[in-house]
């Protein structure tokens, strides 16, 4: 199987259409791909126009050769079952919390993609519905609290820590894109001016996105300074 056919991102009005389109393009069966919903799309918030759905299809087994990470394959069935159980508990926990907060919304969950082969992939819980900006809050304070409490409850229930990401209407996906762009722009500015650039204070998960985005860039280095809640990323040019 050729390298470039191993993964495909598709954009279409709905998740179902995007998936069908991608499978047709790859010319394989649905069972043979892992489907990751990058963006569920929406009919538009506050009448500002909707977003298209985005899915990423990865041909099963295509990444095994690249990642030399040792994975425990002794009992794949029980691992899968365990992961699906965690997924269901995460979804139910978020539903329960929202209901008790008096918020009417749809909740779905799926397995995300691990950015570190040594860790299990995260569980992504998506919340969708109308007027949910109240769930995000200032600097995503409310969303992060919801995520934190969800992780604790699920962790207690299944007896181990689990990486869970709670998202509202694709907020985190959009935010990540914005942060990656910001990281690139600030890196360029650091190089152009020869000066260290300081970013705004950010929560840990957002600082991480900046560090990851620039870690492969040999022309800059990144470092977090100051203490929470003022902790921020700095980007310094590397002398050449």
């Amino acid at each position: 199987m050729s390298e470039q056919r191993a993964m495909l991102e598709v954009i279409a009005p709905t998740v179902e259409e995007a998936t069908a389109k991608g499978i047709a393009e790859l010319g394989i069966r649905e069972e043979d791909v892992n489907i990751e919903v990058l963006d569920e799309g929406s009919r538009g918030l506050l009448g500002l126009g909707g977003r298209q759905a985005r899915v990423r299809l990865t041909v099963k087994g295509s990444q095994e050769d690249e990642s030399a990470a040792p994975t425990d394959s002794s009992s794949p069935d029980s691992v899968d079952e365990d992961a699906d159980n965690a997924l269901a508990i995460a979804r139910e926990t978020v539903s329960e919390l929202l209901e008790k907060m008096g918020i009417n919304a749809e909740v779905s969950a799926h397995h995300g993609e691990s950015d570190n082969p040594n860790y299990n992939p995260p569980i992504i819980v998506d919340i969708s519905g109308k007027d949910l900006s109240i769930l995000i809050g200032r600097r995503a304070e409310t969303l992060n609290s919801l995520q934190f409490i969800t992780r604790l409850i699920v962790g207690k229930e299944i007896g181990r820590g689990t990486h869970i990401v709670v998202d509202v209407e694709g907020y985190r996906v959009r935010r990540e894109r914005t942060l990656r762009d910001l990281a690139r722009r600030m890196a360029e500015q650091a190089i152009a001016t020869g000066r260290r650039q300081k970013l705004e204070p950010m929560p840990p998960n957002e600082r991480r996105i900046i560090h990851l985005e620039l870690q492969e860039d040999p022309s800059v280095t990144t470092e977090s300074i100051d203490q929470d809640p003022r902790r921020k990323v700095t980007i310094s040019p590397v002398d050449t």
């Binding site: 926990t93 329960e96 919390l97 008790k100 907060m101 008096g102 918020i103 109240i134 769930l135 809050g137 304070e141 409310t142 609290s145 919801l146 934190f148 409490i149 604790l152 409850i153 207690k156 229930e157």
Partner: protein, 78 residues
């Protein structure tokens, strides 16, 4: 609002039977008093009060839905 705190607290403690939330109304504001077993205090407060803070933030959303103000106290078990 009371149900929210009850649900979170019962899900986090080792002894859910001892979770008790009392709600005291005064005008447009509601005071919630959460009581848990002594051994479970740390679980509902968290390191640097992180759990308690997260509960207060979620509670604020729940209260706003009812146009109310709330205050959450975690009381010492005797």
């Amino acid at each position: 609002m009371k149900e929210l705190i009850e649900y979170i607290a019962r899900s986090l403690v080792d002894d859910p039977a001892q979770v008790e939330v009392r709600s005291v109304n005064s005008g447009s504001s509601t005071n919630l008093r959460l009581k848990v077993a002594k051994e479970d205090m740390g679980r509902v407060i968290g390191r640097n009060g992180r759990v308690a803070n997260a509960m207060r933030i979620l509670l604020k959303v729940a209260a706003a839905r009812e146009n109310k103000r709330t205050h959450l106290d975690i009381v010492d078990p005797e």
